[in-house]
Symmetry: C2
Amino acid sequence: MKNFKYQNATKIIFGRGMAGCVGEEIAAYGKKVLFHHYGDDFIRSSSVYQTVLQSLQAQGLEIIELTGVQPNPVLSKVREGIEICKREKVDFILALGGGSVIDSAKAIGLGATYDGDVWDHYTKKHVIQQTLPVGVVLTIPATGSESSAGSVITNEDGHIKLLGSNGRTRPVFAIMDPEVTFTVPRYPMAVGGVDMMSHVMERYFTCEEHVELTDRLCEATLRTIIHNLPRTLQEPTDYNARAEIVFAGNLAHNGLLDCGRVPDWSCHFIAHLLGGFTNLAHGATLSILTPHWMDYIYRNHIDRFAQFAVRVWDIPYNEADPEQTARAGIQALRDFWKSLDLPMTLSEAGVTCDRLEELAELVTEDGPIGSIQKLDRQDVLNILLASR
Amino acid sequence: MKNFKYQNATKIIFGRGMAGCVGEEIAAYGKKVLFHHYGDDFIRSSSVYQTVLQSLQAQGLEIIELTGVQPNPVLSKVREGIEICKREKVDFILALGGGSVIDSAKAIGLGATYDGDVWDHYTKKHVIQQTLPVGVVLTIPATGSESSAGSVITNEDGHIKLLGSNGRTRPVFAIMDPEVTFTVPRYPMAVGGVDMMSHVMERYFTCEEHVELTDRLCEATLRTIIHNLPRTLQEPTDYNARAEIVFAGNLAHNGLLDCGRVPDWSCHFIAHLLGGFTNLAHGATLSILTPHWMDYIYRNHIDRFAQFAVRVWDIPYNEADPEQTARAGIQALRDFWKSLDLPMTLSEAGVTCDRLEELAELVTEDGPIGSIQKLDRQDVLNILLASR
């Protein structure tokens, strides 16, 4: 186990009807709120939008709405938000939505405290150390952004999607009502589940030894998602299944599962750029890439992939041929995602991308990526070519 | 799953050599530090004490030492600390030690902000809402007090041991170096392990349904303790085993495993008073009480006890006789604790207690205790009599 520091002060407010707390939570931080959300008819006609609005109004908060967030949230919208925050001296940013809105809100929060261009934070030119406080009312369980340190923003100038990470950007609170997610359609729920599973697996597939507790926590989280995700798709109003998925999605990316480990993140790094290039949903890029990444590397990490097979998928350990066990675990993951109608290749997702070489070049421009196994430009390209 | 709120902002600083960070961590809070510890030769000659002292001095902090904390920390020492904090205008309380020192420090932190008697907080006469910031350098893994909300203090006037809980008393940081625990002798390590396991089981044995994720997290934590605790006793300098135990002890009581559940706490409530009456180590009172509590209630909760047997102890599920499975899980727990030379009865611990009726009366004076199964005065007495 490696030395680590871990702090996650996000207040989790979980359960039925909890969105009504939002005004009271924000009132401690100030009077003027940037209310950031998708802004479409779907959200405006939702009961959670009405609940949030009434709760803000009941506290006498001044509301400035900033809408029009897209999946793969874009830098231009972030800049628009920053300008409003600076001009209007906003005290607090409230994100009502899923990962896209939350990430956009986090970027706005950072940029609002910085004289330069917020994109500097994402290119690592300058790490912004302050942020306006951000709060979340979650509507789509997936990214874990509601209490994570990261945010992913796409710069439309070249469709470059980059991660900016900073512990200070963890939201001060995250309200998660499983009932609010009942209306999330099948496909976003499914790709959200992939993202959660990937957040766990990026940590699980580590070269660090003696990480038993976090191994077991990862396995617990994966098993819970595997059990409950199909139930949420079959019966969208199954509160119990939704609650497990919403909670698991948070735990998958709140940082606890990282503790003492060396995470990999290869699939996410490639997926972020692939999402920027293709506009595929983040979880779809991960369902395509992850099994191909596993195929590419597992032979060098038989023990870990066999443990994954045995403990996560209940596959009997094959003493005579542990590699067979490892392969069976990867196949089980593939079968599970296929059973949820998730794409296993770019062509299954109806997408072609003629920029795979450029992507492989770009994702490795600072050197090889990954940790359990370093991937150079050619490795990434091989995985991408297998994923077509 | 029940609605819940969860926030734990304690900064976990984990690993080899981390105690050297302590001065820097405290400097943000002020200049004057109450340095609270056991004060015996053992601690003063330890390298962690020297490391901490040097780190405080390097930051130019003013140090007031308050020593002489006992196991089952007492109210008189707490009052002494409060008086110092008020008189000297202390900015920060640093606890170097295990649960006793940390609980004492938390009580001092609360009392230092309150004009009345701090015991009011423990008798629930007045919940103190403020505290001086408390930081921890952990030397004995057991109670999880380094990031928990509670503290347990014994009032020598009648040997009454009570729990005061308040989210604000979570320490601002907890430094946990597994190497520092190498010198903890066998018995305190063993009873510390019991306390950790009990913290998990108090949550695990719940009447709340649909708590799959936290069930699995509890099982993960228990399995990790069961695997590693014997290794720490056999080979005290096994860093990997110590690291798992130190981390698991924290997770067992940081509040995450509570989320959405209704915990029981019967064994802890009885154990607190039994510890106050007998001066047995907290973990020893729990190793005595817990299996007897399980014997007393399991027939009404076969499914949950069978799940405990199957998932925690790898006992095959007996379709024809699930009650047998449940019993086998309780026996496995007993066998495990016996194998670590832990007492299973008061007499095995070399103690007689002629105040069991008084204890049963006292612990139920506000009504039945427990949640998975309510225990009245007679129930508690029955469990205590079986535990003699």
